[in-house]
Each structure stands twice: as structure tokens, then as C-alpha cells.
């Protein structure tokens, strides 16, 4: 980068052409060369900039001069405040993340033989439009349904492997004998010996949660040298008697029942049959308790709502980082390659660890490049538009929106609020002015004494 711009900076050639004969022959060539660009810039940059600033002080209808009313609206309208807040979050999170990922990838790929393949994988999304990137993530990754959305699918698989979901989500005990809650499980408040039976009645179960294969519950028969029992829905239309297995009451299949010893330690567990019955056979002497395990009430994984109002902003930022990390990696990688090897070798010879070399030598030498990457990302993030539009469902667009998107929506999506739209454009312009000045300063510095 510096190799071209820091070299001789367009000084006029010495000993130029002989003294001019006329104005045209002197400036004509320059005009011919610069003219087309000059007129296009005048027409598309200078005039619109002035006009947009003027428009931002005029009412939406275009009739009255309203001073700063349009700007006031930016800072009072709820949706516009959300947009500003979201832009602030973007600026705080994304450029730093992208730069950090770029450093990590650039440093690590220096050490492997197949760096090209990796770089291609990470760099390729840069060629894709942010709009298409948004569609990609919305279609493949973020769907809430774990059987459609990749991320929720993976989470569901992991959760299923860690602890399978239960058959119910919640219930109440039907008699005071059963103590506890669906969060902690229900323990029968009664000690049992071999040959006893246990009645574990539950109520307040939503009808659609009762498993489809549930059958009429059956009063448990005492087992000879074990404990038997039933877990059932102790409720039948019209009431019924609590704590009694009656006609029309269904067993709960698949419930997990624990057998606890005197001290409350779990010694065994069983799963109920389709009529709700369970048995713990061949028990020795001693007293036991039984409990419906809390895992019976673990709701199946519904999927994280990535595009819901809470997570929509981070979700979009992740997709954006996916597209931008390759840019950072390549630019920083080129910066790394430009660091003289002998400087690093000298540090290593002096006994510095790899990490010290990285922190004390590499990063400081790299800082101009890191600055360029960071600032480029800040500008990109301030103007972010396409990816927000592509990922947000209509219902959460108001939670995900950003300034550039609102500028467009206010002006062109049928709202015709050109005054507010112009004010938003000027607002964006003001935000990038520091960057603009920085660019100019950097250019002048690089070209001084060139």
C-alpha cells in the first residue's frame, strides 16, 4: 500500500513543455483528461450534497422551512432512536470483532501449508453481496424450527444428547401426599417397603401434552419382593376422586420414576409403561421412597428465536462478520508479510516467547494496517443497509433497523418523508466526517516530502 503512495507524489515534471502560447494549449489537455470526471462529480456529489443539506431543513411536503424540526424528529421518534442505538452497537462490536478475527486468521495461516484453501473459504463471502449473504443466513442458519434451521438443529442435537426431553412440561400433584414441583420433581411423602404400592397422581396437565400412546391407568398390584406403582393423570371429566385410579383416567407413559433410599439417595430409576405402571423388582429389606423425576417435565427444545426481537441485532452482526472477516484477514496478512523477518528473529534470539514477539513486535509494527482495517469497517458498519433488510422478518424489522435503512424507508418505501430522510442522510454524513478528515490527513502525511 505504502509502496505506491509514498513514492514520488505526482510532482510536475521538471523541464516541462516550452512556454505556452495560449490558455487552451496550456490547460486544454488537463481539462480534456479531468473534465468528464469533474462534471460527473459535480452532478452526482457536489450538487446532491448541497441539495440534501438544504432539503433537511424543509418539511416533508417540501413547502415550509422548518429549521431543525426534521433533526428533532430523529432524536424523538422511537424507531429512529432504535436505529441510532443499533448503529452504535454495530460500531462498538463489529469493527473490533472483524479486526480481531483478521489478526487471528492471518497469524495462524502463516504457519500452515494449506493456507490458500483456508483463505479462500473465509475470503469468498466478500465477493457475495451483503444482501445475498443475508438471505443465505436467514434461509440456512436462523430458522427457529430445529428441523429446518441449522443452528437450532445443532443445539437440539447437543441438548438431546446431554439430556433427552421429558414427556410433559408441567403438572401439579393431585394429593398432598406428593410434594414438590415440576421443576424439582415430585416425591411421595411416604416411606415404602418391599411389597408396597405407590400412587403418583398428577393433575393440571394440558390435554395435548398427554402422550398419544397413553392407556387407561391401572391400580397397581403389590409385587412380591419389590415396589410397584402408577403415574397417572388423576383427573377425569366431571371430577373424580383425588388419589384414586378411576375409569377414564389415563396413565402417563414414559415418565421417569426414581427409587430413593432412606437418606434420599437415588438407587434406581424406571420408565413407566403405557398404562403408567412401573415396578422396582427384587428389592432387599429397608425403607424406600419414590419420586417422579424432574426430567419428566423437561420441555422439548423449541428452537432459539434468532430472528426474534431480542436476538435479531446480534444475529445480523454475526452474518456481517462472516462476510467481512476475509477482508481483514487478507489486508492484515499482507501487513504481516511486510514485517521484516530479521526483526522477529532478533526478538526470538533475545529470548522472547512467541506471545511476547506477537504483542511487543508484531502488533506495534502492524498497527497502521490494523487502523486501516478498523476504520474501513467503521464506515461500512455506519452505512450498513442490505443485510439488515435481507435478514429481518417484517415483524422484527423495527427492532433491527439502522440509520441507513430508515433513511431509505422514510424517503422511498411509500412514506415520502423526504425532509426526515434528508436529515438522516446528513446525520450519516456527519458521522463519517471524522473518517473523511482522517483519510485526508493520512494522504497528506504520506505525500509530504515524497
Amino acid at each position: 500500500m505504502t509502496s505506491t503512495s509514498s513514492s514520488v507524489a505526482g510532482q510536475a515534471p521538471l523541464g516541462g513543455p516550452p512556454p505556452p502560447r495560449s490558455v487552451w494549449s496550456r490547460w486544454g489537455p488537463a481539462l480534456a483528461f479531468v473534465g468528464p470526471a469533474f462534471f460527473l462529480l459535480l452532478f452526482y456529489y457536489i450538487y446532491p450534497t448541497i441539495e440534501t443539506i438544504r432539503r433537511s431543513f424543509i418539511s416533508n411536503s417540501g413547502k415550509e422551512f422548518v429549521w431543525f424540526d426534521n433533526y428533532k424528529q430523529i432524536f424523538t421518534d422511537d424507531i429512529l432512536l432504535t436505529a441510532i442505538k443499533n448503529n452504535a452497537i454495530w460500531v462498538a462490536v463489529v469493527p473490533a470483532s472483524v479486526t480481531a478475527l483478521g489478526v487471528i486468521f492471518a497469524v495462524l495461516t502463516e504457519r500452515i501449508g494449506w493456507a490458500i484453501a483456508f483463505k479462500f473459504a473465509v475470503f469468498a463471502p466478500l465477493a457475495i453481496s451483503l444482501f445475498a449473504a443475508g438471505i443465505i443466513w436467514r434461509a440456512t442458519m436462523y430458522d427457529r424450527d430445529p428441523s429446518v434451521g441449522s443452528i437450532n438443529h445443532v443445539i437440539g442435537v447437543i441438548k438431546g444428547a446431554v439430556g433427552p426431553s421429558g414427556v410433559l412440561t408441567k403438572a401439579n400433584p393431585s394429593t398432598p401426599d406428593l410434594a414438590g414441583s415440576s421443576k424439582a420433581g415430585f416425591t411421595l411423602d411416604k416411606t415404602l417397603q418391599s411389597g408396597d404400592t405407590a400412587l403418583l397422581g398428577l393433575t393440571a396437565i394440558p390435554p395435548d401434552e398427554v402422550p398419544g400412546d397413553a392407556k387407561q391407568a391401572v391400580e397397581p398390584q403389590p409385587a412380591q419382593d419389590g415396589i410397584s406403582g402408577v403415574v397417572w393423570r388423576d383427573f377425569s371429566p366431571g371430577g373424580g376422586e383425588a388419589g384414586k385410579v378411576e375409569q377414564g383416567e389415563l396413565g402417563i407413559p414414559g415418565a421417569t420414576v426414581d427409587l430413593l433410599d432412606d437418606s434420599g439417595k437415588k438407587v434406581d430409576s424406571a420408565s413407566t409403561e403405557s398404562d403408567g405402571s412401573f415396578t422396582f423388582p427384587s428389592l432387599g429389606p429397608g425403607s424406600y421412597r419414590v419420586a417422579v423425576d424432574k426430567t419428566t417435565f423437561v420441555a422439548p427444545f423449541q428452537g432459539v428465536s434468532w430472528l426474534g426481537s431480542k436476538l435479531i441485532v446480534p444475529s445480523i452482526m454475526i452474518a456481517y462478520i462472516w462476510t467481512a472477516a476475509g477482508f481483514a484477514m487478507v489486508v492484515i496478512g499482507a501487513g504481516l508479510a511486510a514485517i521484516p523477518r530479521d526483526v522477529l528473529e532478533a526478538a526470538r534470539t533475545d529470548g522472547a516467547t512467541e506471545f511476547q514477539v506477537f504483542r511487543r513486535v508484531t502488533v506495534p509494527l502492524l498497527s497502521p494496517v490494523l487502523g486501516v482495517v478498523f476504520i474501513t469497517q467503521v464506515i461500512g458498519v455506519l452505512k450498513v443497509f442490505d443485510i439488515v433488510l435481507a435478514i429481518s422478518p417484517g415483524s422484527t424489522l423495527k427492532d433491527a433497523t439502522v440509520v441507513a435503512l430508515e433513511m431509505w424507508r422514510k424517503s422511498f418505501s411509500g412514506q415520502n418523508q423526504f425532509g426526515v430522510g434528508a436529515a438522516l442522510a446528513v446525520f450519516l454524513f456527519v458521522l463519517v466526517i471524522p473518517v473523511l478528515l482522517l483519510n485526508i490527513r493520512r494522504f497528506r502525511r504520506e505525500n509530504v516530502g515524497g
Binding site: Y45, A127, I136, T376, M407, W408, G421
Partner: protein, 298 residues
């Protein structure tokens, strides 16, 4: 490495050549790095690959089943979505518009910027430095500043919803970057060459075509690739300045409201819209990276 072993209290280490054990140790030390990069690299490919799978997934099933099901049941793969796409007149028209706008808005700015870049680099004219500083300032100007006035102007001039209007807009908005890139490249051309040409009495035009352009091919190529990707991938300008002649991204965006139900149209359309720039990028990656490094200020 030698010091580490000495610390462990081994016998005196004979430096180099590297022993087999050391090579193995060096390799195993790198295993976590290889593994990490392998996983990250694969993760990075998954989303794009997933979109491709959805685009060939039987639409009756893609609404309720994940794209990975195509692996376990290849019979669910179909080209039907693509044949439907290419029979959809709106989308085919949008692709043609995109191709036309991209072609025009690549060739035109390259020519205009090369001329201006040469002048800024090698012709002395009054106000040159000031104008160039302004140009650098314009690099960061948000496109949003131009949308409302140009929209109104285009409506008056009859340029709204035309390919020409889109080409001119993209051309103008590429100029600060394009001129900056080419000027910086041209400045690096050896002064001796320029002076020799001028002493030989070559006209500026002759110098430009015979000397500057041939030497500038790499920079012009970089710029061309950039511009193709930038214009092809545009959504905002197409959405704002056209209606029945919108490019592909803008056309797809109108379908977003029924995202779930017409995924069989959106997915292949999005895939076609991204495979074109991706192919160009792959074919000319070298120029792309050069341009990126030369002008990463935009």
C-alpha cells in the same frame, strides 16, 4: 526449542540438523492450529453451501425439513427450482438488466478514471492538489447523501428506471475510489520514462495510450474486478432509482415478504445472483487482492 530442552535438564543439545523427534514434536505442536483452522474453514463454507442445497431441494419438503436432508435422501434433489426460475420473466429480465448495468458501469468508470488519474499524477494544472484532496474526502461520503436529489432529478430528466441512469450513477459513485487507485498507481511509473516520452515530443494523449495504459493494466484490472462486484452486488441504488428495470438484488428483495413460502424461488435466485460475482472473483482473485491492498480506504 533448544533452550526448552536444556531447561528440562536433558543432555547438551547439539544444534541442527533437526532430529526426527523434534520434527514430530513441531508437528504435534501445530495439531491444534490445524484442527482449529479446519473447523473454522468448514464452518465458513456451510452457509453458502446450505443455500445451494436449499436451491435444489424439493420445495414440498424444504419448508419443513433442513437442507442437510438432501444428503440422506438424494431423491429430494431437483433442478425444478432452476427451470422455474429461468421461466420467471421478472427474474430473467432482472438478470439481463444487472448484466447490462454492470458492463456499462465497469467500462465507463475505468475509462474516465484512467484519464483523470493520469492527469492528477502527471499533468500540472491549477487547483490540482486541492481538487485531489476534495476527491479523497468524497471517498467516505455516504451514498445516501445523493439519493433524494438524484431521485428527483432523474424523474425530471427521464432517467428514472433506465439502465443509463443506473450506469451513470454507479459510474459517478465509483470515481473517487477509481481515480484515487489509478492515480496512485500511475504516480509510481518511473519519472525517466515520462520525461523521455515528453522530450521526444509525444502528446499527452499519445503518452496516455502508449505508455500509461499498457503499464497500468494490473491496476485497471483490479479496478474492473472491483467495479463488477460492486455494481452487480448493489441493492440500494437499484431499489431507489428503478422500478420495472430493477437489477436482481432489488427484484429478489420484493419477494422477501413471503420469505418462507417462496424459498424455492428466492434460494435459486439468490444463488444465481451470487455465483456470478463469486466466479469472477475466483478467476481474478490476484487482481482483486491487489486492488484491495492498494485502496483499502473506501
Amino acid at each position: 526449542m533448544a533452550t526448552a530442552e536444556a531447561v528440562e535438564g536433558r543432555a547438551v543439545v547439539v544444534p541442527r540438523p533437526e532430529s526426527k523427534a523434534e520434527r514430530v514434536a513441531r508437528f504435534t505442536a501445530k495439531v491444534p492450529v490445524h484442527l482449529f483452522l479446519l473447523i473454522v474453514g468448514l464452518l465458513w463454507l456451510v452457509p453458502t453451501f446450505g443455500l445451494f442445497m436449499i436451491s435444489i431441494f424439493d420445495p414440498a419438503r424444504s419448508a419443513t425439513e433442513g437442507w442437510w436432508r438432501v444428503f440422506s435422501d438424494p431423491s429430494a434433489a431437483t433442478l425444478h427450482n432452476y427451470t422455474a426460475l429461468f421461466q420467471n420473466e421478472d427474474l430473467v429480465h432482472a438478470l439481463i438488466v444487472t448484466a447490462l448495468v454492470t458492463t456499462g458501469a465497469t467500462i465507463l468508470p475505468v475509462i474516465i478514471a484512467a484519464l483523470a488519474g493520469y492527469a492528477f499524477a502527471w499533468i500540472d494544472f491549477p487547483g490540482r492538489d486541492v481538487i485531489f484532496i476534495v476527491l479523497i474526502g468524497l471517498l467516505a461520503l455516504p451514498i445516501q447523501m445523493a439519493l433524494i436529489p438524484i431521485f428527483k432529478l432523474y424523474n425530471t430528466l427521464g432517467l428514472y428506471d433506465t439502465v443509463v441512469g443506473l450506469v451513470l450513477f454507479h459510474t459517478a459513485f465509483s470515481l473517487p475510489f477509481s481515480i484515487f487507485l489509478l492515480r496512485n498507481f500511475f504516480v509510481g511509473i518511473p519519472k525517466d520514462l515520462m520525461e523521455a516520452a515528453r522530450i521526444d515530443g509525444a502528446s499527452e494523449l499519445r503518452i496516455f495510450f502508449r505508455l500509461i495504459l499498457p503499464l497500468g493494466v494490473p491496476a485497471v484490472a483490479s479496478l474492473g474486478i472491483f467495479q463488477v462486484l460492486f455494481v452487480w452486488n448493489d441493492l440500494l441504488v437499484g431499489l431507489t432509482l428503478a422500478q420495472s428495470n430493477q437489477p436482481i438484488a432489488a427484484t429478489i428483495s420484493l419477494q422477501l415478504r413471503q420469505f418462507g413460502s417462496n424459498l424455492d424461488l428466492i434460494a435459486p435466485a439468490a444463488f444465481v445472483s451470487l455465483i456470478v460475482p463469486l466466479t469472477i472473483f475466483l478467476a481474478f482473485q490476484r487482481y482483486f487482492v491487489q486492488g484491495l491492498l492498494a485502496g483499502s480506504v473506501k
